[in-house]
Assembly symmetry: C2
Homo-oligomer: 398 residues x 2
Amino acid sequence: MIAEKMKPLLANNSAIRMMFEEGNRLALIHGRENVYDFSLGNPNVPAPEGVKQAIMDILNEEESTAVHGYMSNAGYEDVRDAIALSLNQRFGTNFRLENIVMTVGAASGLNIILKSLLNPGDQVLVFAPYFLEYSNYVRNYDGELVVVSPDRESFQPNLTEFEEKIGRKTKAVIINSPNNPTGVVYSEDTLIRLGEILERKSREIGHPILLISDEPYRELVYDGAKVPFVTRFYRDTVVCYSFSKSLSLPGERIGYLAIPDEVTDSGELIAAAVIANRVMGCVNAPSLFQRVIKRCIDEKVNVEAYNRNRNLLYLSLKSYGFDCIKPEGAFYLFVKSPLEDEKEFCAVCKKYRVLVVPGSSFACTGYVRISYCVSYEQIERSLPAFKKIGEECGVRPQ
Amino acid sequence: MIAEKMKPLLANNSAIRMMFEEGNRLALIHGRENVYDFSLGNPNVPAPEGVKQAIMDILNEEESTAVHGYMSNAGYEDVRDAIALSLNQRFGTNFRLENIVMTVGAASGLNIILKSLLNPGDQVLVFAPYFLEYSNYVRNYDGELVVVSPDRESFQPNLTEFEEKIGRKTKAVIINSPNNPTGVVYSEDTLIRLGEILERKSREIGHPILLISDEPYRELVYDGAKVPFVTRFYRDTVVCYSFSKSLSLPGERIGYLAIPDEVTDSGELIAAAVIANRVMGCVNAPSLFQRVIKRCIDEKVNVEAYNRNRNLLYLSLKSYGFDCIKPEGAFYLFVKSPLEDEKEFCAVCKKYRVLVVPGSSFACTGYVRISYCVSYEQIERSLPAFKKIGEECGVRPQ
């Protein structure tokens, strides 16, 4: 019955499902609190109290048919205006409401922009390690994902290989900073050089290359790290944002695309994005949460809770002798596998009821991703297990 | 910059936009209350009070990270269970939670099922008049829409032509009852014959044809009309539902797919639908409103308000001499144009500041759609204009 294109997705899905079911099986045997699940990216910090208050206020103050009704496919104008203003104040941009398209989360924003952009066979470049769903998003529109191999020293993008891989078929590049799975923030120097390469190569191949900046982790940064606003470095840049992490609302599916006037054919691209939002069936971003965003534009989740988790887990793993770059953002550690095959290492972890994701799931073997968007207590309880895992794998405390 | 496939959509969109802007222009000149806009399908009846109460209760009783967090891509299990149970009680079906996939409204449900199903070149049949977005949904997956011409007597599906148009490439059929734009409910007799044809033809062409029943208007019926539950008539049937109209929540984007076990390869089709939900970027239906649905599964909007509108507008137009089938459901009248070219008729209407949609927008020329999901007062105020429009077009009171 099902489409040919869906068949490989089904096969792959079974693998993810098996991991999930394995977690449930372990929880049944040992109790949920004795399974240390670090595999998911589901925020454990609650939404700010202001979100609840905003919902109550909206329901009491605004008309039901306006709050829950259809609006323009791009979203409520006052909400888009509030977002444009907030971005302009924070990053010195010049957005008007017309540059903002409300989306069903960042994943839908990425799909919308890729549908607006890609002809069959067009190539989209990404830097490993990357969120593997990108390949599905690109394939939805018969595009081809081209992967630039990781720089395992800094986990900044490998720009030399990047430049080599740009060709006539290159239509877009997706970057993600703060990065899932490494927690690395792309530096200003990286972005300057990235912009220069894109400008040079666009001229060379004779058409613009769209830089798509996927930024769900923008607000989750530590030790005062700054995440440069990418539109400053290259004109053909689109920002894809989500409130999933900044307001702990991943299930609500609320985000936006920012498409600056400077982008080539920006008017057409904005119109195409709005139409793509409609014809792919989203129609519009959920209306109540659009209204919430207007009232909560400056709210933030408790980032300090993630920072506490980060420090405990990072310092503990380092003290056991594990090798890991200190993340400046997001809520992941990307730890070097002490065994050559990181899947074997994942298996050892599982013996100690620690669930982590192999780097191969991010096109970067030899590493594992550990999500620390879990309770502090889970991290505390799991530390003896990590210590034993290190010992079993021959890791030596420094 | 934009994809070739998007270009015709952009051109077409400008036409819709022009109509919308024309409405705004008229409102500026004559005042919003003196423009009688019957062009939109945006419910004007508020959501039931129970929805507001449910939201308040959820925010007070349930955990923020659970209410707003990720869940399975198919939706919360308890919500799907509640929907399955409600369908079983009302329609004698045998759904389990596994048969229900929560979606971002019915439009997204349709996209998900079409992505799960279609190979390039596959044909999807629809009965005119139909909601024109179907053609975009089918084209998203490189399918081909095949239109069965309308039966202008009854506006029941033209089953003779339907049977002739089924061929080897036929993969699915979309029906929509109560129907947008006619308000007609497909009769049990129609569905029995439709099921028989599909069964016979599936055997003949050697593969199953999926019947997709798009049912956003199921609960909006009048005079005790019954909408037969379609899965009873043909095994390979999928139901695509939305709460947009039954709970007046169109902006919230909440609905579901019901995929019965009886459907060929149902396990695979359900899995594919869940994956399509994920990879197309919806990820999951909005979480708070999933939780609302569980608490409001038996709530209904005030259908009587629509009925009052229907009776006033239908009886008035008939008394002026217009020709129109009496709608049993939805909130539209499909009125025969007294001028041969219904676009000319729309232009006459506009002279009297009455905005209606030409039937060509539903692949059925010679008619116009009048949405009565507006205030009763708007209908009252507009009646003199309709009378004059009738007179100008040579319509005679009966």
